[in-house]
């Protein structure tokens, strides 16, 4: 028998369910990514004020086909690969795994974002039945396989044509670290890419040098750089040597330099970081800014005009290619992420947390280290709780422009590190941002070019005076006693 009490109970259940749904399925409005006006507002200008940077128009961007994201499969080193593995993948059907209509909650967005994070954007056809990756190629290399023998830089993909491809250049390709124990940590400073394999392929001609020369030109040519700044390799050996000179945690990313690679940053806590890129290339005031930065870095910077030079352009890099014509020198498909994919990606990146810090030290040593940190003035730039003051410092040889101090967060003193990356590359702004020291215990590369491998070397005064591998700049902590140095390093590794 239907009673008033039953009706009230039912109403209560319905109201509860509605409230539960409302709290867990927050309405998400996906920002429009390619808004050129917003890009211009957040993108810092290059150090040369006569340079014109023109982004591809929104109509062009949205005419690019979107990535369709399929399920990916791990790439094993041959010695770890299950027998018949690759052939078994060929028998599978492609499976689309990113569907915005299925995303309801914030957690859904984060899970979807991890899929996007791992989605490769460059592909080569797999023709073999065994892995081309061999574990012995990693002996003596700074790159690592996982404990299961997976080369996480690549993934296998079955696309809609049923072809098996080996993909690379996902976000994860650079922003994933394999620990000494072979554990995989997404978001940490990456150490996946095996430079030695690629260098061998270049030296042997497996990657034709003509492709390397054209590639380095597209990736690194900067119209406003001085004539004596080397941007294009002259020979396979020269390029291979430059690759081999880079240690772990470093990448020769596009818009930089093949001689001056850049440290791969940690993504942990990036939500708090006000500027993206070592040069502070883009202001980061919202999730939409991160989405635009990701879009730029995953291809759109190659379709940006830098004083008339369009890296991915046709007609000698002067014209935007038609959508079907665009290709990256190393095999990018001419595609873009959808706004929903970038929104999911940003959610995932914001959600990343570091693993537990395994370093332990006595309270006395940590207290001493913190005292040294303050006494030496480190705290002025690396201010807690973020251990960065979130400001930009001018490079040696660059004076802030009259309007810069009002417009950007400038800490007007140069620490004297090498200025090439911010003065003579397409990512250049004239500034370097003060990096956060959080999770520095996980890093294998320090300073923006990643040419210092340990904190011990960072505080070694000999690095400024030695005849080989001299690294100037950031002259802090160079006159500490051994005890104070040990305390400071211990403190830093506790962050």
């Amino acid at each position: 028998m239907y009673t008033v009490k039953s009706a009230v109970n039912a109403l209560g259940v319905i109201v509860t369910l509605v409230l539960l749904y409302a709290f867990t399925t927050t309405r998400h409005e996906v920002p429009r990514v390619w808004n050129v006006q917003e890009l211009i507002k957040s993108h810092l200008p290059p150090p040369d004020t006569t340079v014109d940077i023109t982004f591809a128009p929104a109509e062009y961007y949205y005419a690019l086909p979107e990535h369709v994201i399929y399920k990916t499969y791990p790439v094993y080193a041959r010695e770890f690969e299950p027998k018949g593995y690759i052939d078994s993948l060929r028998k599978l059907k492609p499976e689309q795994v990113f569907d915005p209509s299925q995303i309801k909650t914030k957690q859904d967005w984060i899970r979807a974002g991890q899929i996007v994070f791992n989605w490769p954007v460059a592909y080569t056809l797999v023709t073999d039945s065994v892995s081309a990756v061999r574990a012995k190629d990693f002996e003596g290399s700074s790159a690592r396989l996982t404990a299961q023998g997976v080369y996480a830089f690549n993934q296998y993909i079955l696309n809609n044509d049923g072809k098996l491809l080996r993909g690379s250049l996902s976000c994860a390709s650079c922003h994933t670290q394999i620990t000494k124990n072979g554990n995989l940590i997404e978001g940490a400073q990456g150490n996946l890419f095996n430079n030695a394999r690629f260098a061998d392929a270049v030296r042997s001609g497996k990657v034709p040098f003509a492709a390397i020369a054209d590639g380095t030109r597209r990736l690194y040519f900067t119209p406003w750089a001085p004539a004596n700044h080397k941007m294009i390799a002259d020979s396979p050996e020269e390029f291979a040597s430059a690759l081999m000179a880079a240690g772990a945690g470093v990448a020769h990313r596009q818009g930089g330099s093949y001689i001056y690679p850049l440290k791969v940053p940690s993504l942990f806590g990036i939500k708090d970081i006000r500027y993206l890129d070592h040069t502070g290339l883009m202001k980061h005031n919202s999730m939409a800014d991160l989405m635009r930065y990701a879009a730029l870095n995953q291809g759109m910077d190659m379709l940006t005009s830098y004083n008339g030079f369009i890296p991915g352009g046709k007609n000698e890099n002067t014209t935007l290619p038609a959508v079907a014509e665009w290709s990256h020198p190393f095999g990018y498909a001419a595609k873009r992420y959808s706004d929903e994919q970038l929104y999911a990606l940003a959610h995932y990146i914001y959600s990343l947390t570091p693993p537990e810090n395994p370093n332990r030290a006595s309270r006395e040593l940590l207290t001493r280290g913190e005292f040294v940190f303050k006494k030496e003035g480190c705290i002025t730039c690396h201010t807690p709780p973020l251990y960065t003051n979130n400001k930009l410092t001018p490079a040696s040889g660059f004076e802030p422009r009259p309007g810069d101090v009002a417009q950007y967060d400038i800490f007007n003193v140069s620490v004297g590190t090498d200025s090439v990356s911010t003065l003579y590359t397409r990512r250049g702004t004239g500034y370097y941002k003060v990096p956060s020291l959080r999770n520095v215990w996980m890093q294998q590369a320090f300073l923006h070019n990643g040419n210092i491998a340990t904190l011990e070397d960072l505080f070694n005064p000999a690095r400024i005076t030695r005849t080989s591998n001299r690294i100037k700049g950031h002259p802090f902590g160079l006159t500490l006693t051994d005890a104070d140095k040990r305390a400071l390093i211990t403190f830093l590794k506790s962050l």
Partner: protein, 181 residues
């Protein structure tokens, strides 16, 4: 221009004091020291100026000054960290390119007890002048007369840096003028 030339000639000649003393021995040597201290994240950071960065003019009788006028060149600051010293030269701090000198001029000096004084001074940093009251005293030996002063300023009053969560606004200043006779 004429004033700057005068100040530069004073510094170049290392004349640290020109004064008129009545019934007093002639000074043989004069040295002036200025030390700063500011709290940064719980630790006092010290800066100092060497005597060569400072020019002082006192008038009055021996141990009883009528007026004190000083010029200090902030370019000479030493904090122990050279990058910090360089930063202090920049426009957000002392801006030494535009404002090469700090000036202090007494408006009046009162003797409040034996060897103890209170002066009202105009202090000009970065073109900003503020009137401050500085107590000071002197100590004497047969060979020397020394003036000591301690006071504090708010750096933001003179546009030195910006508000900070870790850097205090108050700068403690200690001045010592040592005159050998």
């Amino acid at each position: 221009m004429i004033v700057n030339q005068f100040l530069l000639s004073v510094l170049a000649a290392y004349i640290l004091i020109a004064r008129i003393f009545t019934d007093s021995p002639d000074p043989k040597d004069v040295r002036c020291y200025v030390d700063l201290a500011i709290n940064n994240a719980g630790i006092d950071v010290h800066g100092s100026f060497d005597t060569s960065d400072i020019a002082i003019v006192l008038t009055g009788s021996y141990g009883r000054p009528d007026s004190i006028h000083g010029v200090l060149y902030p370019r000479g600051i030493y904090t122990g960290i050279s990058i910090r010293d360089q930063h202090l030269m920049r426009p957000d701090y002392f801006d030494v390119e535009k404002f090469p000198v700090i000036r202090v001029h007494s408006r009046k000096i009162d003797c409040i007890s034996n060897n103890r004084f209170v002066g009202v001074f105009d202090l000009t940093i970065k073109g900003i002048t503020s009137t401050i009251t500085i107590p000071f005293h002197c100590t004497r030996t047969t060979q020397a007369l020394t003036y000591h002063a301690r006071f504090a300023i708010n750096r933001l009053d003179f546009s030195l840096g910006e508000p900070s969560a870790i850097l205090d606004n108050t700068v403690q200043i200690a001045v010592k003028i040592h005159i050998d006779v």
